[in-house]
Structures are given as structure tokens and as C-alpha cells.
Amino acid sequence: MVSFSAVVKRYPGGQEALRDVSFSVDAGELVFLTGRSGAGKSTLLKMIPAIERPSSGSVIVNGQNVGALKRAAIPYLRRNLGLVFQDQKLLHDRSVYDNVMLPLSFSAHAPREAARRARAALDKVGLLAREKANPIQLSGGEQQRLAIARAVVNRPAVLVADEPTANLDAESAARVLDIFVAFNQVGVTVLIASHDQALVERYGKRVLHLREGRIA
């Protein structure tokens, strides 16, 4: 489903964020990506939705070579991915419900179908009761769950999350990870970056460890 082969990312100035990274994630798999901050986790994840492009090597997502994708094709790639960011990137000028509706507005669902999907996504992360609230009124864990709801509302085949538990207490972190596991159990391919080795190992899933831009 997601496959990296000999991927190098070199920034202008010669700094290498990724050095010869190769791995693949099968459809329906849940894989953790660990490593200290600066090891290249974020850079690696950003290549999947083509936010970053590899300097060499190839990134294949769902059969598409992402590195060679035309600019105009990128939105359609991203619609098939669920992205959860470390800083959530929620919009604070609108309600919880409207945040989840945002991805549906691009793909032009009928209004009733869109509303049904948005409520279903909120229900899955346990935020249906807060749909009228503003994201600013939510706790850190709730905000992260809202970000997950927005990521899954388009029913993507792949979920990619960058440090979704970074700023959460242990209980909230576990709840967030449980949601990812639940999506994985219904067949969604999940890739989660985390610096918390101990938390990750509790789930008994495959773990990729990045050290200085290489898979260790």
C-alpha cells in the first residue's frame, strides 16, 4: 500500500534528512515509526501526501509514484489519505462539526450524505456531543480526536499520523492510539510516527526505527 525504495531527501545546503530509506507497508497493516526528534520521521511521513518530494528514490502510495505526480493530481492523492498532524491544524473560526465537513466540501457529496458522514466520523472518535463547540474549547486529547475524525471522514484507505500523542497525558494518548487501532481493525492501513518507544511497544505491532535518516 505504501512503499519506499532507496529514498533520499537532501535539503538545499546539503543536509540529508533521509538516507536510503526502503520499507513497505501492506494493505491493512498498522506500522509505528519511532526515533528521536530530528531522526527524519516527519520528513518521511510528509512524502506520502507529496508535501515533500524525494531527492532520489521512489515513494509508491496505492500504486501511484508520488514523487512523479503532477501538481494538479496531488489533491486527488490527498483525498485518499487521512492525515493527522502533530499540531492538528484545526480551524478555530468554525465549529467542530464544520471542521469535519471541510474535506467533504471539496468532493461535493450531497448535503445529507455529507452530514451523515461527518456525524458518523465524530461518533467514532467520541465527539458527537461536542459538534457545536469551537475547537478551542476542546482539551488536547479531544482536539487530536477531532483531527482524526476529519482525517477519516472521506473513508481513506491509508491513515498517516505524525506524533498524534506528543502533547497528551498518558490516558489521552492511549485513547487516541486505541482509535487508530480500531480503524486498522476494519481494514485501514495505518502509519503512526511517535517518539514514545514504550507506549508503542505495548501494541505489539511492527515498529520501524529511524536513526539519523536511516531505518535501523
Binding site: 501526501p49 508535501i51 494538479a72 489533491p75 486527488y76 492523492l77 490527498r78 483525498r79 489519505l81 492525515l83 498532524f85 491544524k89 484545526l90 480551524l91 473560526d93 471541510l102 474535506p103 466540501s105 471539496f106 468532493s107 461535493a108 457529496h109 448535503p111 476529519r150 482525517a151 472521506n154
Partner: protein, 297 residues
């Protein structure tokens, strides 16, 4: 309803809501005031053109006979002039009448008395129908029994030149303020893009196409331009009504029913559409300049 239509309706609605905010209303007002100047000048110019066309604009030609012309020569020329289809009115001024007129001019009577005899010839004053005053004058000059022809077309040319100057000035004004309209829209949309930076970035991250993101801004530019054009027409209508309050008694004292007229429906529509088009252009320029800068990292 198709998805395509729904997306456009959504973008239109978003643009309309932005326009209804104070900043949008103010920008539309600025555009309206700027456009009212050329639109109003156009209305005035068109009204004045109507007047000048309605006046006895046909230039007059003076046809002088030789001093020794006899009564039969005069009658022969009169019938020739009457027979020419290009000639409007024909008025005979005898040399005696001309001398009487001249004597009434202060300071001239002594000079005339000193000459001792009437130096003036008999003359016809004719008006030309329509264009071609110069060529008519030349033709009349070749008629038998005509000593000299004077075409009084200079003032008509001057009036036409004045009108042309007015039109060039109007075109310059319209071009300048049209550019201002584009600039105002450009800047309004730049500010909107800045304030919506987060939304644009997030939308791009989760799969919005460029067209989806641009659409509300295009609609906004178009709507703001249309609103500005409509406001300009409102200002012109109000200004003309005020002017006409003063013009009416003045015109009536000259026995004229002259009023400044509001532009014809087609012209008014053209002004609004032109304004909308410029707004769209400003949006297009601003969006292509500023939206590329916002790429998620």
C-alpha cells in the same frame, strides 16, 4: 443538483457573505465612488451632445455676388440655390441692408460715410443640410454670377474638436479609475488570502484543488465589481437629479426643455458589467500572485 453546480453555489455564497462584511461593503463603495466620475462625465457628455445636435448646428455659407450684379442675376442665383438639394434655408441680404447693419456697428458708420459709396455686395446666406459644408461651399463658388463664398465652418469644427477632447479626457479618466478598481480588488483579495491563510493551507493539505480554493475569490472580485458599478450608477442618478433641479429653471429661461439624462439602459448595463469584469481581473491577478505562496510544509 449536480456536484459542479453545488460547488459553484457554495463558492458564490461564500463570496457573497464576505462582501456583506464591513470591509467588503467599503471596498465596493470606494469602487462606486471612483467609477461615478467617468460614468457621470459620460452622462453629461451624452446629454450635451444631444443638445448640440438639436441646435441649428448646420454651418452657414455666405455667397457674395459681384458689386455690379443686376436684379436678374440675383433672381437667377436664388433659383439655382433653391434647386440644390444640399442647401437648406436661403436668405437674401441686399447690399443696402448689409450697409444698414454695418452702420449700426459702433465706430464703423464714420468710415462708411468717408468712403462715400456702398462698398458691400449683395449676398445670400444659405445653410447646408448635413455634412460636407466645405465641398458645398466650393461648388457654390463655381456657380455663374458668384464673386466669393465664405463657409463659416470653423466654429462647427471647434465644437467637434471640443467634444473630441472631452471624449479623450473621459477615456483617460475611465482607464485610470479602471486601473484603480483593479488595484482595489487586488488588494482586498490579498488581505482576504492573508486572513484565510490557515484555511487555505489546511484545505490544500486535505485535498482541495486549486480551482476550489480560487473560486470564491473570483466570485468575490466579480460581485464586488458589480456592486461598485451599481453604486456608481446610483451616485450618478443622484447627482444628475440634483443638477437638474438647477438646470430646469435655467433651461426654461431659454425656452429649452433641456435636462441631464441618465445613461441609456444598455450603457448603464455596460458600465456595471465592465466594472464586474475589472473586479474579476483584479481577483485573477491577486489570486495567481498570492495563492501559490501558500504551500503546506
Amino acid at each position: 443538483m449536480s456536484a459542479w453546480l453545488r460547488q459553484h453555489r457554495r463558492a458564490f455564497g461564500a463570496a457573497l457573505r464576505r462582501l456583506a462584511r464591513a470591509a467588503g461593503v467599503l471596498s465596493a463603495l470606494v469602487i462606486g465612488v471612483a467609477l461615478a466620475l467617468p460614468a457621470g462625465s459620460y452622462a453629461l457628455l451624452e446629454s450635451l451632445r444631444g443638445v448640440s445636435a438639436g441646435l441649428t448646428l448646420e454651418p452657414q455659407i455666405s455667397v457674395f455676388l459681384p458689386l455690379e450684379a443686376k436684379r436678374s442675376d440675383i433672381e437667377a442665383l436664388r433659383s439655382r440655390l433653391r434647386g440644390d438639394a444640399r442647401v437648406g434655408t436661403v436668405r437674401f441680404v441686399s447690399r443696402e441692408d448689409a450697409l444698414k447693419e454695418l452702420k449700426q456697428v459702433q465706430g464703423i458708420s464714420e468710415v462708411v460715410a468717408a468712403i462715400g459709396r456702398n462698398p458691400l455686395p449683395d449676398a445670400f446666406v444659405v445653410s447646408a443640410k448635413g455634412e460636407g459644408v466645405e465641398s458645398l461651399a466650393a461648388d457654390l463658388g463655381r456657380l455663374p454670377g458668384v464673386a466669393h463664398v465664405q463657409a463659416d465652418a470653423a466654429w462647427a469644427r471647434r465644437l467637434a474638436a471640443l467634444e473630441r477632447i472631452g471624449r479623450v479626457g473621459l477615456a483617460l479618466l475611465a482607464a485610470l479609475l479602471g486601473a484603480a478598481l483593479v488595484a482595489v480588488t487586488f488588494n482586498t483579495i490579498r488581505l482576504q488570502i492573508l486572513t484565510q491563510r490557515d484555511e487555505i493551507e489546511v484545505s490544500k493539505l486535505i485535498g482541495a484543488t486549486d480551482a476550489f480554493i480560487r473560486r470564491p475569490f473570483y466570485y468575490f472580485g466579480l460581485l464586488q465589481g458589480l456592486a461598485g458599478g451599481a453604486i456608481a450608477l446610483g451616485i450618478v442618478a443622484g447627482a444628475l437629479a440634483l443638477l437638474n433641479l438647477e438646470v430646469r429653471p435655467l433651461a426654461e429661461s431659454y425656452g429649452s426643455a433641456f435636462r441631464f439624462a441618465f445613461p441609456a439602459a444598455a450603457d448603464a448595463l455596460a458600465i456595471v458589467l465592465f466594472s464586474g469584469g475589472l473586479g474579476w481581473l483584479g481577483a485573477q491577478l491577486s489570486v495567481s500572485r498570492h495563492l501559490r505562496d501558500i504551500e503546506p510544509t
